[in-house]
Amino acid sequence: MSYVYAVARLRGMENHLLDSAFFSRLMDSATIDDAVKALGETSYSQWISQTGTANFDKAIDSEILATCEELKSFVPDKELLDIFRLPYDFHNVKVLLKGLFKVRGGETEGRRYDLLSKLGTIDTEELTNAIETEEYGFLPYGLTDLIPQCWQLWDATKNAQAVELLIDHQMFKAMLEVAEGLKMPDVIQWVRYKIDAENLRGAIRLSRMKYDAAKALPFFHEGGTIRPDDMAKLLNEPQETWSRILSYTDIGAVLNALNEQSDMKASLTDVSKALDDYLLKVLENAKYSMDAPANVLLFLLSKEAEARNMRVALVCVAGGLDRDFGRRLLK
């Protein structure tokens, strides 16, 4: 399938993406009403006028959802969009299961439907019904088998973190399967790098908790370019040496950059930011191709980053938080 039309249209849509200068200006707004006024000429204004300023979170989700729907109308392979939306499905599964765990534990207010995201590929009502009525048969991405496994694990351990890990393992497995089904090397590579990035984020977190390397293996996901075994072994080494150990991988360069900035002790937010930037850079080669399908993913990630920046800016303005801190969080 040709992506010439789709990529050209995305190039046009890229012109409407909001840049960092805009967000910087947005952060200078004195009140949330001023910020909403500043959004007047952006595509977000239509959603904010529907949801009201207090619910800007929903407005931002609506904007991403509308973008996904628009892309669905012209992108030849819908599965490319699924790769982007699939994590939201798994997020919803986590929210629903955790809610039910609490309800079964006796908490009447356990369910948190407000945390469900509409960005997933599975309709939230259908997913809720499926999980609450235990009819998982129609669920995609291996959820049919995964959810009963989660219940078994919960019944055996009452450990919500272990259940989350199990869900994440399946999420990355499903992402890789969808990417491999598309037979697009750039996209497969990106998913594998994403798994590496997630594993590395986990490794840094575990290392800071001084977690025992021998017990760390279950925390790492299969499918990346770096084996989970090797990731777990990193925990035996000082963090400063990780970039050298991982120098044979592309992601080693991210650690190298953090090392050069003497920033290995940086907050996890900064590390996450560096890894997210890396995942965007991985796809940036697609910019030089007039018909690379990876451009679709690149656009969606850029839009997601824009939405994240919007959220950071509006939260800062609405909550009267420190603007400099907010600017640091911008991507």
């Binding site: 010439v4 050209a8 249209r9 190039r11 046009g12």
Partner: protein, 160 residues
Amino acid sequence: MEMLGLSLALFGAALAAALAGIGSAIGIGVAGGAAAGVMTEDPNKFGSCLILQALPGTQGIYGLLIAFFVLNKLGLLGGAGAVALTWNQGLQIFASCLPIAVVGWYSAIWQGKTSAASIQMISKKPEAMGKAIILPAMVETYAVLALLTSILMLMGVQVG
């Protein structure tokens, strides 16, 4: 055997028009896809997109030109009837048509791809229209060289 020369020459003319025409159609199609994508977001870019989309169309014209040249040489255009050709002369005319047929076909497709990339470029940077035209025009050079080769070869073939 006496019609073989004429058949070969006509086959060459048909190839020149057909292959170069097919290449142009594909090239214009590719560039058209990109133009449609850009114009969906910004209809004001129609003028710039049209110029870039039209660039791969020239190979089809070159092919047609060579086909006319051959038909004229064979005496098929004036109504005076076809000249007598040996199979050797027919083969020479056939060979003369090959440069524009093959190069026209292939270069039009690649020019279409370059035009599509240029269309995407002007979507982001409309002020770079001049540069955007030059890039696909570079591909045109080789189509022009092939046209010249075909013309010179045809002029060298003695018939009648």
